[in-house]
Symmetry: C2
Subunit: 593 residues, 2 copies
């Protein structure tokens, strides 16, 4: 391909409204353009990257035995009402009515549609297991589209759904997808962490997210630097403190709690400013309805309560935040001044609070807080548990080492759904005993566009994008410096032909531009390998070769440039494959443990 | 692929609501399922066919030098208001508002979006010509979705747009797309006619439709069996009668027109029934507003007036049908009884009417018609022209032979847009003289799903689908008849491996079913080549081979079955390629004439 024919509208200036590196660079490299809020056009070289991601996903899904199909974006809303998600999805669901008054949703995901299909097609356990997938455009009424192609209203998703007759089959289907995802992200050349995410109803470690570390990421993950434990902040368990839990014995000598007047100071921040203490010296009492019954959770002022953990602490199946009237009725105390002393409802205390010698809490009276409150003396420690989101510095639940906190971009998610949809929508089959039971499902998503963005977030420098070889729009850029010199152009075209015949995509910069402009653009669009052919080089019998990841160029003999460069390309390609293969072996080994 | 793993839910019964052969058979073959009105899911083997069409289109578009990109389905309606199509597209445009009250259309086509993109990216004639394309999902609020996947609300389209600096460039871009389309349809193995369609504003033969003949088709085309002339019925010219036009000399001897009472008989049908004559013995007078001025056109009772031809007959730029009050005011005659005798407004007469010795027409009075009216004596023949839609039996405008009428499915359309969008939306560039002028556009569409349907319409028999080799979900079906016989299964698997290694897609029917069921299903899903491996055959040293297009099977030696069958496959594949190549040569030759 000739640069002059390729429509690559690079920009010198960074667009003002772009913040994320991937957003800035994809715009500057002429890969995408915004059409409207949350809707992007992929220009030719951006589309080439997207296509390469699609191809890798398709190959690995096919290799994993999944069958590709294609479902419509237009979904009758009746299906959403059947599954019960019409309400829970709320405003995020884009909807329209046809002129004949039929009511459609634009699919943000296809659990309903595929469950509807499978209840029609699958009747017997003999048809199971089966995993179906599509690579298809999704819609979501994102209230705040941002970070360029990272969070948009329209995006390409690979969504897969497994249908199994029993839990063993589900586990196999899940593992096959998990493994396929690893291979996809390995082959895409992006760094990723696999983190535990909120569990499905079948229990166990039945949901994982694939996260690319990036400060642009909207998810927070905590990772153990020692073992391979990683989890979403909301999901992470917190290891017990390495020393014996420092729950203080009741200290009868300590002074009694002292009430202080805190007029109109309701938030932790206001109390701390007023009393000149840190948030870590306070605790906040939160009131929930656990299966409808009021309960209280006490966490440190600088921590976030984790509702799933609180729910489990009280053995409840549902947990909702209580509103102000409910709280006042249950505790007799006004919002902003709640505390654990003489509490009238069941109380669970986070381990970090239980470990404090004294703590500042609400006084259960308007405009009153208590200082010098001693856990275990002034309020009960019958139920001390992990009740909060993890943060960097918390101990790893597996090995106890201190975990670190990172931002991440979610690029994939695998999830054991169980029978949520099949039960709600009546997708039953006859098992081998002739009994009609709901099919067991899993769902598996990959954000195709997000892989493109994540690859840029993980691969860029001050000069532009650094594509992995597998995703680069072109593998090789050939820059002939003297367009009017036939020897230079012939050498360029000869190399182009050789590389293309070997299966590499080649871009020839045939623009009548200064070398500086060409090199800057080459760096910006991130082509992995740059070949410079010049009069002087040819006179000296050399061709200049520079990898985008290298600081400097090196020369190869012009006479054997084709073979030398192809050998370098092959080495890089095989290097990526080896990484992928080694990781596969190491995953297999760790499963075998 | 094993049949038992392929999810092919064939149906024995034809679904009650399916009328078109493609609709019935794609459902019965387990290729598609309806999700909602006008929205279809492509099941795995249907998706394989769709993918093969997509791959052929992509290869030929790339070979023609077009650049692929991807634009969003969500389009800000402001762009549609800018182009002026927001009104003209009307209810067909699907629309929605986001929760933040942004107003989007779901793109039925992308002229606005791409013109918006190009006005941003293209500044100079040096960036032209460029042709951009995408293969992307379109939406259309079709009031009457029907014929299965032929007319749906959501469909896959290949839409391309050319941008040129001058008319010569446009012609080259147009010809490149025209040629690419021929190669696409040739490679897809579907019969097609290229018909002239309504011209664009640049004039000449600047719009062509690609039609697959089928009784299910919603378009009517007339074709000359002698030369290659073909056109949409609405667009076709009608050749002059082969003999000198039989405009009768005024025949003073003939009796004067005779008024007959025709109380309440207003339609042609009512008059004919009442007078016991045929529609071809009558003529109907139609009143239009040509640039606002009332004019009349007289066509035979059994013919349809063609508004484009009438418009041109009066040299007008707009033509609309006149309403009843306007007609009565202009002619003094009531609707249903209009006639050409003593007409007060300009009159154009169709050639077929001018050739009649006498004709029955309206009497320009309530409940009165005139019989024995002589053209040229009783009304003027100053303006005798072709004013009607062509029908089968009309002479070819190129060679004079009688044309035939067929129904057709439109699968592609190429169109010289000119500057309609670039002017309306300000997509200007600097030409080589430094002048800012609007870019010249062409647009080129292919209905991807329609190719699948058209291939079935053109390729089926009583037993099911007959796929062309290039589109078949699998090229070869291997049916081992004794699943428990290791020799049979080994022979099947050995052939499967050989064929797959040679690049063919193979389906092995591993179901525990009677041969009759397997053969019926094989015919239904339309796999081009069926291989039967049986105990008896192996004992006799043979393997049975049957082409879907052949009436009967033949045996090949089991020892050399792989090579013999591969040779047959190659012959068929090359046969299709040769047809495509021969047609290309013949097109090139006819262009050279």
């Amino acid at each position: 391909m000739r640069w002059s024919k390729a429509l690559i509208p690079t920009l010198k200036e960074t667009p003002a409204d772009a913040v994320a590196p991937s957003h800035k660079l994809l715009l500057r490299a002429g890969m995408v353009r915004q059409l409207g809020a949350g809707a992007y056009t992929y220009l030719p070289i951006g589309f080439r990257v997207l296509s390469k991601v699609v191809r890798i996903i398709r190959e690995e899904m096919d290799a994993a035995g999944a069958l590709e199909l294609l479902m419509p974006a237009l979904q009758p809303v009746e299906l959403w009402k059947e599954s019960g998600r019409y309400e829970t999805f709320g405003d995020l669901l884009m909807q329209l009515k046809t002129s004949s008054d039929q009511h459609f949703a634009l699919g943000p995901t296809h659990e309903e549609v595929i469950t509807d299909l499978v209840r029609d097609l699958v009747r017997s356990y003999k048809q199971l297991p089966v995993t179906l997938y599509q690579i298809q455009t999704k819609f979501r009424d994102e209230p705040r589209p941002r970070f360029g192609i990272l969070r948009t209203r329209e995006f390409l998703m690979k969504d897969a759904y497994s249908f199994d007759a029993n839990v063993e089959q589900l586990n196999d289907s899940y593992d096959a997808m998990y493994e396929a995802y690893c291979r996809i992200f390995d082959r895409c050349g992006i760094p990723y962490a696999i983190v535990e995410a909120e569990s499905g109803p079948i229990g166990g470690d039945s949901s994982h997210e694939f996260m690319v570390p990036s400060s642009t990421g909207e998810d927070t993950i905590v990772q153990c630097p020692a073992c391979n434990y990683a989890a979403n902040k909301e999901r992470a368990e917190i290891g017990a403190p390495s020393e014996a839990p420092a729950i203080p014995a009741a200290t009868p000598d300590a002074p009694s709690p002292a009430p202080v007047e805190t007029p109109n100071r309701r938030t932790i921040q206001e109390i701390c400013d007023f009393l000149k203490i840190t948030e870590a010296e306070t605790a906040k009492l939160l009131v929930f309805l656990a299966d409808g019954r009021p309960v209280a959770a006490l966490v440190r002022g600088d921590h976030e309560a984790n509702e799933a953990k609180v729910r489990r602490a009280f053995g409840a199946t549902t947990l909702t935040q209580a509103d102000a009237p409910t709280i006042e009725k249950a505790t007799g105390a006004p919002m902003g001044f709640l505390g654990p002393v003489e509490i009238k409802i069941p109380l669970a205390v986070d381990r970090s609070v239980a470990a404090m010698p004294t703590v500042v809490v609400g006084g259960n009276k308007l405009d009153v807080h208590l200082t010098g409150v001693v856990p275990g003396r002034d309020f009960p420690l019958d139920k001390v548990l992990d009740l909060r989101n993890a943060v960097g510095g918390d101990p790893c639940p597996k090995c106890g080492r201190l975990m670190v906190e990172n931002q991440g971009i979610e690029v994939g998610h695998v999830f054991k759904l169980g029978t949520k949809y099949s039960r709600a929508m009546g997708a039953h089959f006859l098992d081998d005993k002739g009994q009609e039971i709901p099919v067991i499902m899993g769902c598996y998503g990959i954000g195709v566009n997000r892989i493109v963005a994540a690859a840029v977030e993980a691969g860029h420098d001050d000069n532009g994008i650094v594509w992995p070889l597998s995703l680069a729009p072109y593998h090789v850029l050939i820059a002939p410096l003297q367009l009017n010199n036939p020897a230079v152009m012939e050498a360029a075209e000869a190399l182009e032909k050789k590389f293309e015949a070997a299966g590499y995509d080649v871009l020839v910069d045939d623009r009548d531009q200064r070398p500086g402009v060409k090199f800057k653009d080459a760096d910006l669009i991130g082509i992995p390998l740059r070949i410079v052919i010049s009069e002087r080089g040819l006179k000296e019998g050399t061709v200049e070769v520079k990898w985008r990841t290298d600081a400097s160029a090196h020369n190869v003999s012009a006479a054997t440039a084709d073979e030398a460069i192809l050998a370098e390309l092959e080495t890089t390609r095989r290097g990526m494959e080896n990484v992928s293969a080694e990781r596969r072996i190491s995953r297999a080994a760790s499963r075998g443990q």
